[in-house]
């Protein structure tokens, strides 16, 4: 295997010159991003900067118009088979959890493994219980999402994604909709996941989390990546004045 291929092989997500428009509005401007296997990336930036849109392009919840995206070596195309293949490898956790309210916690977790990966129900349930234990709520397995607190729901959402055994996890502001006392329980689960070597792209404003687990922090504004650096440098020595402004706004309040 050549040197180039080896390097490509290690890349979990590759975004090349990606552009996206909503109508006339240019939301993503020439975005380039490489994420290595096992890398943890935190993406921050003011609201409307395109950070959510960018990670939503990675599993095709949003469609980009120009540029290329490769996930786990598969090129994103509008071909439904490619999209399905990519979605099997990519887990996603949403700001508002998006659990299925008419299904129990356990059913939420086993649905996709059974129907998408054709895992036998018994096996899927065993795996789901294992993940529910890892997010520390196995006792809630038979409850409905509406009976759980926000923090518990978000942990179920993480377990639900993990049940598909993804290679990369996308987190779209996972703690923004939570009451303050519940943020920690969700972050603890995410930190544990990071320590186990999961590849993660995380849109968040939890700078403590960024400092603890991120390999790189990316700052976006106006639809482009303004600055990226390792957390130490990023927080102590931001280069761009917009990064400095942003950090001063979120850190000094």
């Amino acid at each position: 295997m050549s040197e180039v291929n080896k390097q490509e092989d290690q890349l979990m997500v590759q975004i090349r010159n990606m552009n996206k428009w909503y109508g006339d509005f240019h939301v993503l401007k020439n975005v380039n991003l490489d994420v290595r296997r096992g890398e943890k990336i935190v993406i921050c930036g003011p609201s409307g900067s395109g950070k959510s849109t960018m990670i939503r392009c990675i599993n095709h919840l949003e469609e980009h118009q120009e540029g290329d995206i490769f996930v786990n070596g598969i090129e994103m195309a509008s071909d439904i088979k490619k999209i399905d293949a990519i979605r099997k490898d990519v887990g996603m956790v949403f700001q508002h959890f998006n659990l299925f309210p008419h299904l129990t916690v356990l059913e939420n977790c086993v649905l996709a493994p059974i129907w998408v990966k054709k895992v036998p129900r018994k096996e899927a349930e065993a795996v789901a219980m294992q993940y529910l234990e890892r997010v520390k709520i196995p006792e809630q397995a038979l409850k409905y999402p509406g009976q759980l607190s926000g923090g518990q729901q978000q942990r179920v959402a993480i377990a639900r994604s993990l049940c598909m055994n993804p290679d990369v996890m996308l987190f779209d502001e996972p703690t923004s909709a939570l009451d303050p006392e519940m943020i920690k329980e969700v972050l603890d689960v995410m930190i544990e996941l990071a320590n186990e070597g999961m590849t993660m792209l995380c849109v968040t404003h939890e700078m403590g989390f960024a400092k603890t687990v991120a390999d790189r922090v990316i700052f976006m504004d106006g639809g482009q990546i303004i600055e990226e650096n390792e957390p130490q440098e990023f927080f102590n020595n931001p280069q761009h004045e917009r990064t400095q402004l942003f950090l001063s706004q979120i850190l000094n309040h």
Partner: protein, 366 residues
């Protein structure tokens, strides 16, 4: 400063129980007290004669109009004609076939709605896929030594039920497909769904029935025979499907975008997403609208009288013209209204029960 914990006290006696309810709702101000008393008096004035006509001075027993002498309702008219009102012109020796079909259907439905009975999926599949054929063979005959009964002999309540049940059972799945089509991302599917819905919704049902019974044969080759009842059934189904589709579309729109996205992100395909995630939630929200459409459909079946089918209303009206019973139209209409009401009210109550039962909490809705 720290406050001591306050004890939990019972609510004042004047605000709870029957007395409390009366006080807060009917007698809370002098004006309301007067209004309550006036209304009670009006109810008394209005309801007592009705009650008297229907029950107290009504005649129940007898065989001819001579038995009706008391001045109240003459229910003898109904009891004497009840077979015809139920079965239409179906041969008297064969009415057991209608009864068997009806009670088998009731038993299947009871099985489906009774909580905690096993094998509901199997029973539902049987009811939807196999039972219609059994019912058709039983009702129409011509096989297994059963005498063939042509559909123009069908009538009365049994015809009304055939029209309503077929309409309801066909309109719901077709309506779901049409609603999904209208929200589809495929332009041709969407355009066709919109066209279908807007055309059928824009036409009165009477026009549809006339088209089906009078116009359609003109366009068909002469030797092609198309059963009149079948044409009415197709007309009603096509028409109600368009309404059903719009009710269902309303339910689909109420499901948050996040549910679609979560299903997509997990890799579920379109039909998996719709059948397992979106429709179960949407149908729950749609119960009032769907049942409303069912009830409207049930009552609209009486319009088939204008194309010469004798449903319950038509057959009672025909009986009123019988010289032996002239002058008892009121009893006939009250009876028809009561039968329709029983069925519609039953559907309405069951839908309320279903809504309560399916309320599993939507706290995570975002």
């Amino acid at each position: 400063m720290i406050n001591e914990q306050q004890p939990t006290l019972p609510a004042p006696a004047s605000t709870i129980g029957l007395v409390g309810w009366l006080r807060t709702n009917l007698f809370n101000t002098p004006m309301n007290s007067i209004a309550t008393i006036v209304m009670l008096y009006l109810c008394y004035l209005w309801l007592t004669p009705i009650f008297d006509w229907v029950f107290i001075s009504a005649d129940w027993a007898g065989t001819t109009r001579e038995s009706c002498t008391s001045g109240g309702a003459c229910w003898v008219f109904i009891t004497q004609r009840i077979d015809q009102f139920m079965y239409g012109f179906y041969p008297a020796d064969e009415t057991w076939r209608l009864n068997v079909t009806f009670f088998a259907f009731v038993a299947l439905i009871a099985w489906l709605i009774w909580p905690n009975l096993p094998k509901k999926g199997l029973v539902a599949a049987f009811t939807l896929l196999i039972f219609p054929f059994i019912a058709f063979v039983l009702l129409s005959g011509g096989y297994f030594g059963l005498e063939h009964v042509e559909t123009h002999k069908w009538g009365g309540l049994s015809l009304t039920l055939v029209l309503a049940v077929v309409g309801i059972v066909a309109a719901l799945p077709l309506g779901i497909l049409l609603a999904l089509g209208r929200r589809s991302e495929m332009p041709i599917v969407r355009a066709m769904s919109v066209a279908y819905i807007e055309i059928w919704r824009g036409v009165p049902l009477i026009t549809v029935l006339f088209m089906a019974s009078v116009m359609l044969p003109l366009f068909l080759p002469e030797d092609m025979h198309f059963d009149k009842l079948l044409r009415a059934l197709i007309g009603i189904t096509m028409f109600q499907t368009a309404y059903m589709a719009e009710v269902i579309r309303g339910g689909l729109q109420a499901i948050p975008k996040g549910q679609y996205e979560a299903a997509d992100a997990l890799g579920l395909g379109y039909w998996q997403k719709m059948v397992m995630i979106i429709l179960p939630q949407a149908l729950k929200l749609m119960i009032p609208g769907v049942v409303n459409t069912f009830i409207a459909l049930f009552k609209d079946t009486s319009l088939v009288l204008i194309i010469g089918l004798f449903d319950l209303l038509a057959i009672v009206q025909a009986a009123q013209n019988d010289p032996k019973w002239i002058g008892y139209a009121t009893e006939g209409y009250v009876f028809v209204a009561f039968v329709f009401w029983i069925f519609c009210f039953g559907m309405s109550r069951y839908s309320q029960h279903l809504e309560k039962m399916l309320h599993t909490g939507h706290g995570s809705r975002a």
